[in-house]
């Protein structure tokens, strides 16, 4: 029945949407948007239904083309995969709803190819999440990456330069991963993740698999912007259009982090614990958390500040992975969800500011902003408090689990780093909140260019996704115990 096919339906529906939306969009411009909405909406429903089914009945495996797994490509729908796919498609759907008016303002001629590329990006990400095959992961990684370069390049004047630098580093990362897959294939003779996992402990020595793991970690580290491999990120997110960075920032790097978990915990498992990968990840993540937060404090542009804060937030996920403990895993997976929702809210708010005022600079903000856009400001405040980590917002709980994991590992310096980074987050977000809520409007510092005829909130198609995601930050915070107990605990990989 349809039920047993839906693991593969999510990437396929998005891919079909990407292909169909171009000719339909060229025929009637508005149809491409309709296709994008249908494809992303369908994939959200499929991911939700699938997650519900898998939580009840256990994981599902789908063999592509009817070839049994070690030979054919396999798609795996387990709780972790469907959880991440739900995050990806959910945020993707919200941004797609939001995209219409923002695209009309920022790139009026390009919305048909933009929608197609965005669908391709989401298809690549969901394929990366669902696949159970190492080489297939590479193919979807490249689909998502190529689409991401195009999403970046469709931004402002300097965007193609940022996109090219992203392309160079992204391709080096993907090449490292591909070389790693090659070594692993030479050692085991298989590309199926479960099969490789079964073969690895039987090998006489681990020289080739260890080289493979190192290459794959470096490759995926580049894709997830782990410090010091993050240099492509700030320019790419800043120069991309508002919608482009709203697609990229919440989910792009997270899926690479998910792939890292899959490879390290799912494929290598206990075999790899002889290598100090975890220690290396922890060091890189801590450096990323501190450097990202400090650089974010120094920025005067909201989007650039958010981009640097993304570097820091990826550090939290890397820290959770690097600790390689159940609590660290829970923290990392919960932070994938939390950060996706918070960052999507923040980037959508910055897009709404760009739509109304034509700038995302922090310096000219004052309390007229809050009076003009009370709901947008409220959503921003909630998401910002969540980034800082104040209960009961979502951000508090993933940090809480990470801190517990650090306590359990008895690494006190890491607890101090988490506390310190929350303070640093508070510094740079309160800089914005203070201007937004407390600073009185002065005559000489005006927000440039708000047209007098239409002051107020952004149009409903932009405001509603912002509000839903902002509400989501609160709801996820309140429901975090349920999410952890019912979903994430089931996904903890064996042998951790």
């Amino acid at each position: 029945m349809i039920g047993e096919h839906f693991p593969v339906l999510i990437p396929v529906s998005l891919l079909v949407g990407a292909v169909v939306s171009v000719p339909l969009g060229l025929w009637r411009g508005s149809l491409s948007r309709l296709v994008a909405l249908l494809a992303t909406g369908f994939s959200v429903v499929a991911a939700g239904v699938g997650l519900r089914h898998v939580l009840r009945a256990g994981e599902m495996r789908y063999s592509l083309g009817g070839w049994p797994p070690p030979i054919g490509i396999e798609y795996v729908a387990d709780p972790l995969a469907l959880f991440v796919v739900l995050v990806v498609t959910g945020v993707g759907f919200a941004v797609t709803v939001y995209s219409k008016r923002s695209l009309e303002r920022e790139s009026p001629q390009n919305h048909v190819p933009f929608n197609a590329v965005a669908l391709l990006f989401l298809a690549g990400l969901s394929g990366m999440v669902m696949t159970g095959d190492l080489f297939n992961l590479y193919v979807f990684l490249e689909i998502a990456s190529l689409a991401a370069y195009a999403l970046v390049a469709a931004g402002e004047k300097r965007a193609p330069v940022a996109a090219f630098r992203y392309l160079v580093l992204g391709t080096v990362g993907a090449s490292c991963y591909l070389l790693g897959v090659g070594f692993l294939y030479l050692a085991t003779g298989s590309l199926n993740m479960a099969d490789v996992r079964a073969i690895l402990p039987l090998l006489p020595h681990y020289r080739l698999p260890f080289i493979a793991l190192c290459l794959m970690v470096i490759g995926l580290g580049l894709k997830m912007a782990l410090f010091p491999l993050h240099v492509w990120l700030p320019d790419a997110y800043t120069y991309a259009s508002s919608v482009g960075s709203a697609y990229l920032a919440p989910v792009g790097t997270k899926v690479a982090a998910y792939a890292l978990m899959r490879v390290w915990f799912g494929v290598f498992g206990p075999v790899a614990y002889a290598l100090p990968i975890g220690a290396m990840l922890v060091v890189a993540s801590v450096a990323g958390i501190l450097v990202g937060s400090i650089m974010a404090m120094a920025q005067n542009d909201l989007k650039r500040m958010l981009a640097y804060s993304s570097v820091a937030q990826v550090g939290y996920i890397g820290l959770g992975i690097g600790l390689a403990s159940p609590l660290g895993f829970i923290g990392a997976v919960l932070h994938i969800l939390n950060h996706a929702v918070m960052k999507a809210t923040l980037f959508l708010v910055s897009g709404a500011l760009a739509y109304r005022f034509g700038t995302t600079s922090i310096l000219p903000m004052d309390d007229r902003l809050r009076r003009a856009m009370p709901w947008t400001s409220a959503a921003f405040a909630v998401a910002a408090l969540s980034m800082i980590g104040l209960p009961p917002t979502a951000g508090f709980f993933s940090k809480w689990y990470l801190a517990l994991a650090c306590l359990k590992a008895e690494s006190w310096p890491l607890v101090a780093v988490i506390a310190l980074s929350s303070l640093l987050n508070a510094v740079y977000f309160f800089r914005v909140l203070e201007r937004m809520y407390l600073r009185k409007a002065s005559a000489e510092e005006r927000i440039p260019g708000p047209p007098a005829s239409n002051p107020g909130e952004a149009p409903p198609s932009m405001l509603i996704p912002i509000l839903i995601l902002g509400l989501g930050v609160l709801l996820i915070g309140l429901a975090n115990a349920w999410i952890v107990e019912k979903v994430i605990k089931l996904a903890i990989p064996s042998g951790l």
Binding site: E142, A153, P160, V161, V168, T171, V172, S175, L179, G182
Partner: protein, 124 residues
């Protein structure tokens, strides 16, 4: 192991390592963005060669069933899987080059240069 045995067994891998280093060296050392794009292609080609190289066997033939050999002796045929994987990787590599060159055309039209230093100055 004699030198000729070593070269027959591992020589090609050293050449591939050389190609990978040329690719990475070009990415690091060249300041012209087009040369960086070329270095990327060299890097990707080296990895494709690595896969193809890993499929070879001594005294084996192309992986098409030969009536004289039959299908039951896998050691008589070279491994076809890396070749098929690399068909996909070549497509990816071509797509990457295409996107890279399209981006560079945009960059050149907007800024009139592909030299990194000049570009960073003109981007201010």
């Amino acid at each position: 192991m004699s030198l000729s045995e070593f070269l027959a067994g591992y020589g090609a891998y050293y050449l591939i390592i050389g190609l990978i280093l040329i690719g990475i060296g070009g990415l690091l050392l060249k300041s012209n963005y087009f040369k960086k794009a070329i270095s990327l292609t060299i890097l990707q080609s080296a990895i494709i060669l690595f896969y193809v190289m890993s499929a070879t066997k001594r005294d084996a033939t192309v992986p098409v069933i030969d009536a004289g050999l039959g299908a039951i002796q896998p050691e008589q045929y070279i491994n076809p899987l890396p070749h098929t994987l690399m068909l996909t990787a070549i497509v990816v590599s071509v797509a990457t080059s295409g996107v890279a060159i399209a981006l560079l055309m945009l960059v050149y039209r907007r800024f009139g240069t592909l030299e990194e230093g000049e570009l960073l100055e003109r981007m201010r």
